[in-house]
């Protein structure tokens, strides 16, 4: 909402300057987005009269001017070709700072002649790029007066952000009222005198709504004016409209724009000659077509209100006028429409048709139902004044929608919500100044004014009171501590997430956060890409699918960084992956990718990031999240984005906790990653909650007896897994076998084709005695036979 200071002063008697007004507006909830005061930068520049302009005695292209500043006559050397005797210009005295250069003007001698000031160009004042000549002002400008006024720049322009609840402040008068309530002046009378009509209206109005839509348009008023002449509107009106960014069109149109901005009352003026019979407001017929002012044709539905004549719908009520019934230069007879429409219906229509208009903006925020008729009268008065003509009597169908309601209120409400004690008279004074009717003491009955449809209950009244009283005058009040020493607040899943994150960073991973939506083609590679995970209105074509995994985001990042020359990367993200577009159909995944080998290190002990690197990462995440050892078995295989032979899955029953492995070469190719990369995914939500165990640790009982290590090498089929061997060895004597480690794997000479040698080291830890050789031998035999039985292998000799 834009307005000028002078426009505001039409409604507000005030001595406050623009800056104070702007600060006050912001403080009472009408946030000033900008205060444009171009005049302020020019406040010391004045109008001067060029008494004479003659050739410089020592230069052909310079002029020697005698300039009347209103208080003295000074000599100025000027290089502008357009400087001439008798003109009025903008004069800068020595010591002024010139806006374009930022330099201070000095008395100088130019080609031997003293120059005591300067006539300015638009460029020098930063008004435009025009540097060819000096500014030539209106000949009527008075020497010595501020140049800003002569330039029409002395009227600061405010731009205020109006929140959706303040329909009343989409008008200058509404803003003036709030400022007056805030103590910044006195609101002038807003009464509008009625214009008597000469003849009965030749056009009638009817409201034509079904019983269930009576509230769509409860009142519709109109006025017929004959014999107008539609030319340009007066200069003052054009100037105000231009200042607030509106283009003057013609007197009839400008009047409606003026009243919309001045009073928040949208109007429409029809060319009565183009109307066929009586006017009516009604719901559109399904598919009914209106060509609007923007030149577009809109097909309407029966929820939409239209203004129609006997034959057809003419305009989309409250949203946009019709294209072919508007006023032109040749318009002679007009019909002014002023109505009140249901804000929700207007909002719905605007949204469905995709139309943003000043009318919609105001109607959907709620207009003053009591100003429908006065608005019409004001328009009539201005049209008669600007365009002449004879007004017929007003016609009004229906009546303003009921708006009176009483709200019970008291100082207690203010204390309860705002924490401050205000007297009844303080409260009442504020409310009355905003137009509210207040009765009762100490229990008040408050009736909001017709223009404040947003006020529904006591909380709204508290807001009115505190915003005018001053929000900053509410002192801070400490909240009671719930516990003297703060308690831990994170839930187990929240703690797990934090541990997972910091564990990965400690392992050398860089945390990333990427968009939850990715290209559909990428989603499809990771089991997504279906209809249910599509965005209806993506911001970009390649951000259209909810991601089914965090890995595609990481791979895209990997590729981008690789292209920048990062040959080694470890990236992770902890974020949601989506199973569908249903709320809650998402799981929290910690995913990581590793790329590269440090191959260019002088140490040479390097390898490509492989499945065992990411297996370690995966286990580290799981174990830090669980706070214990992960004993669930890893099974070979993982979804299709992994290398089928070099990937694994860790599950508890049917619940997949994590997966890891080298990425499938086709996946890498799809992301343009040129070297092998490995990845893991841990599903943090799937990790079981630790069993509540208390904080004390178990007894510490180290064995007093020596442990014994024995090594075994087995020749087994190549497809036998390490896990098969380890588990069968472990199960031999669980109380004695402390651990089993694989320390060698060999395939090649000495081992038959299709077989491999796998060597394990078994640590026996007795707890109650020292093992004898015979006992050790017996356990060793059991291990050998158990492994051989389980794997079909043989002991390597």
């Amino acid at each position: 909402m834009k307005f000028t200071l002078s426009w505001l002063k039409e409604h507000l008697e005030t001595d406050a300057d623009a800056r104070t007004i702007a600060e006050t507006l912001t403080n009472i909830g009408l946030e000033v987005e900008s205060l444009e005061d171009r005049g302020a930068a020019l406040k010391d520049f004045i109008v001067a009269h060029v008494v004479s302009a003659e050739k410089h005695p020592n230069a052909d292209k310079l002029k020697l001017c005698r300039v009347d500043t209103g208080s003295d006559i000074v000599q100025v050397v000027c290089g502008a070709p357009n400087a001439h005797t008798g003109m009025k210009g903008v004069f800068a005295r020595p010591a002024l700072v010139i806006p374009s250069s930022g330099e201070t003007l000095k008395i100088s001698s130019i080609r031997g002649v003293e120059s005591r000031g300067m006539l300015c160009s638009e460029r020098e004042l930063l008004l435009s790029d025009e540097r060819e000549g000096v500014i030539e002002l209106d000949p009527a400008a008075e020497p010595g007066t501020p140049a800003a006024r002569a330039l029409g720049l002395d009227d600061p322009v405010f731009d205020v952000a109006i929140t959706p609840n303040r329909g009343d402040c989409t008008s200058v008068v509404g803003i003036a009222r709030d400022l007056a309530a805030a103590g910044l002046g006195r609101l002038k009378s807003t009464e509008v005198a009625v214009v008597k009509g000469g003849v009965p209206s030749p056009l009638g109005i009817t409201l034509n709504f079904p019983p269930d839509a009576q509230d769509a348009c409860p009142i519709f008023a109109g006025r017929f004016i004959r014999n107008v002449r539609n030319g340009p509107s007066p200069g003052w009106l054009q100037k105000q409209l231009r200042a607030v960014g509106l283009r003057p069109i013609s007197a009839l149109v400008d009047v409606t724009n003026f009243i919309a901005n001045d009073r928040g009352r949208p109007l429409h003026v029809f060319d009565a000659h183009k109307l066929a019979g009586g006017m009516q407001a009604r719901l559109a017929r399904d598919g009914e077509i209106v060509t609007a002012l923007d030149g577009k044709t809109y097909a309407l539905d029966p929820e939409t209100i239209v203004i129609a004549d006997d034959k057809r719908a003419l305009s989309i009520a409250g949203v946009m006028g019709g294209g072919d019934t508007g006023c032109t230069e040749t318009t002679r007879n007009v019909f002014i429409e002023s109505a009140w429409f249901d804000p929700q219906r207007i909002a719905a229509t605007g949204r469905k048709l995709g139309i943003q208009s000043d009318a919609r903006y105001r109607f959907e925020r709620g207009t003053d139902p009591e100003f429908v008729v006065p608005g019409l009268e004001l328009a009539t008065r201005l049209i008669l004044e600007f365009c002449g003509g004879e007004a017929a009597e007003s016609v009004v169908a229906g009546s303003p929608p009921p708006w009176r309601r009483e709200i019970a209120f008291s100082a207690r409400h203010v204390r309860r919500l705002a924490g401050i004690d205000l007297t009844l008279s303080d409260i009442s004074k504020i409310l009355v100044s905003l137009g509210f009717a207040v009765e009762g003491d100490p229990e008040m009955r408050v009736t909001p004014p017709s223009w404040r449809g947003d006020i529904a209950g006591s909380a709204d009244l508290v807001e009115e009171v505190v915003r005018i009283h001053g929000l900053d005058r509410i002192p801070a009040a400490p909240m009671a501590r719930t516990h003297a020493v703060a308690r831990a607040v994170l839930t187990p899943p929240q703690k797990r997430t934090r541990l997972a994150r910091r564990t990965l960073a400690a392992r050398g991973f860089n945390e990333t956060i990427s968009y939850s939506f990715i290209p559909r083609a990428h989603a499809a590679l990771f089991g997504g890409g279906g209809e249910l995970r599509q965005l209806e209105n993506p911001i970009a074509a390649d951000m259209d699918a909810l991601r089914p995994s965090v890995l595609p985001s990481l791979l895209a990042a990997l590729a981008r960084n690789a292209a920048r020359g990062f040959a080694e990367q470890m990236l992770f993200e902890i974020g949601a992956q989506f199973e569908s577009g249903m709320p809650g159909a998402q799981t929290l995944a910690a995913g990581g990718v590793r790329l590269g080998s440090a191959a260019r290190s002088w140490t040479k002990d390097t390898h490509n990031a492989d499945a065992f690197d990411v297996k370690a990462d995966m286990l580290a995440v799981l174990e830090s999240a669980m706070g214990g050892t992960m004993t669930a078995p890893v099974k070979a295989g993982a979804p299709g984005w992994y290398h089928p032979g070099r990937s694994g899955t860790l599950a508890l029953g049917s619940k997949v906790l994590a997966r890891f492995g080298e990425l499938h070469p086709e996946i890498l190719a799809a992301f343009d990653v040129k070297v092998p990369a490995s990845a893991f995914e841990v599903f943090l939500d799937a990790i079981p909650e630790p069993k509540a165990k208390g904080r004390t640790r178990g007894l510490f009982q180290p064995s007093q007896f020596p442990a014994v290590e024995r090594d075994f090498a087995f020749v087994v089929d190549a497809n036998v897994t390490a896990d098969d061997i380890i588990r069968s060895a472990c199960n031999v004597e669980r109380s004695l076998i402390e651990r089993v480690d694989v320390f060698d794997i060999y395939e090649g000479a000495g081992v038959p084709e299709g077989k491999k040698s796998l060597a394990i080291s078994v640590r026996l830890q007795p707890r109650d005695r020292t093992l004898t050789d015979a006992e050790i031998e017996a356990v060793a035999q059991k291990i050998v036979s158990a492994v051989m039985k389980a794997t079909g292998g043989t002991l390597r000799t």
Partner: protein, 358 residues
């Protein structure tokens, strides 16, 4: 000099002259070995008379002990000499770089989220979370934003395609739907913060289609605007780690709060860096207000008994301000150079005792 003395002298000289362990071993065998000279002497004791044995025994044993001690001592010296020689030979170029290790980092958004959590946890706020895809009902209607309310235009909403149940859900445009979820599932008193990803169809240097918000919600029987001011003040002072900050409260409008307040913080932007608590500029912090009675009602809480506030901040924005990141977009672009520049070490877990930042 007796024969015994000269034998001892001879052996001790040989020990001193032994140049390496092998030579020393030869000396040891020739003296103390089975057939060694001292061993022979000790054997001769057996053939002596008791008187003679009493005289010679201590003598011979003394010789043996001294020789053994000298051998042990010489052995230590020789081992030391050998080690010194080896160490003198073993040299590396210590200026070479160590084995390569990548240094991991925590994303500034996670870090700032942990900082915010640490502060609010001290004030007794738990952390609540909710889904990214949200019911229209929770994102809007329960927050007093009915369909076609003009405030919906303030949210550039992303819609997910129609689901099998025929419904069309939204990517939550703010963290406030979690307020509704919390109020519907917990009884007052409530103190929670809600951090998380939020989405709006908007993109420029200061807007990305995904961003992070955190909001605080308090519901009890007495919390009012003064408490709200206190919490915002204490939070900002703790978060920005400045002793004194100055806030400005501006009336505003949010459909789910009444009265509604926006907060600005005094700052100084002169000199290219932002300083808080001083200067002549105001920095927009975030929106807040007393939870609207209709929202309480729709969430099953009796507004005649309970009240409270909600306030929200942008996590990314807080991170940008505190750590001097000028542009929002790189937050979500995973550029390693940026991640390393703005990231935090794994062990930089913010705590109130150690300070939120280093």
């Amino acid at each position: 000099m007796s024969d015994i003395d000269s034998l001892e002298r001879q052996i001790l000289d040989a020990i001193d002259n032994a140049a390496d362990e092998a030579a020393l071993e030869t000396v040891r065998v020739s003296a103390l070995g089975k057939k060694g000279s001292i061993s022979e002497l000790l054997k001769s004791l057996g053939a002596m008379s008791p008187e003679e044995r009493r005289e010679k025994g201590p003598l011979f044993n003394g010789v043996r002990d001294r020789v053994a001690a000298a051998i042990a001592e010489r052995k230590t010296v020789l081992a030391r000499l050998k080690l010194d020689a080896r160490l003198a030979f073993e040299r590396i170029d210590v200026t070479l770089p160590p084995r390569p290790e990548l240094r991991g980092t925590i994303h500034p958004v996670s870090q700032v989220q942990d900082e915010i959590t640490a502060i609010f946890a001290d004030l007794g706020f738990a952390v609540a979370e909710g889904p990214d895809v949200e019911f229209d009902e929770y994102n809007f209607t329960k927050l007093n934003i009915p369909p076609d309310h003009p405030a919906r235009q303030m949210h550039d909403t992303f819609y997910v395609s129609r689901q099998t149940d025929g419904a069309r859900h939204v990517l939550r445009t703010h963290t406030s739907p979690v307020q509704a979820r919390v109020m519907l599932s917990q009884k007052p008193p409530i103190r929670v913060i809600v951090p998380g990803r939020t989405y709006r169809r908007d993109s420029d240097a200061t807007h990305t289609p995904m961003f992070h918000q955190v909001e605080a919600l308090v519901i009890d029987e007495e919390t009012h605007l003064g408490h709200l001011r206190w919490v915002v003040e204490e939070f900002c002072s703790a978060f920005f780690e400045v002793e004194r900050i100055e806030l400005r409260a501006r009336p505003s409008y949010f459909p789910f709060t009444e009265p509604s307040v926006e907060w600005d913080m005094r700052c100084d932007r002169s000199g290219g860096q932002i300083k808080f608590g001083t200067g002549n500029d105001w920095l927009e912090l975030g929106g807040s207000g007393m939870v609207h009675p209709r929202v309480l009602e729709m969430c099953g809480i009796d507004p005649s008994r309970y009240q409270g506030f909600a306030c929200g901040f942008g996590i990314d924005r807080m991170a940008m301000l505190k750590y001097g990141a000028p542009d929002l977009r790189p937050f979500f672009e995973s550029d390693l150079r940026w991640l390393r520049h703005f990231g935090f070490a794994a062990l930089d877990l913010p705590t109130l005792d150690g300070g939120l930042s280093r």
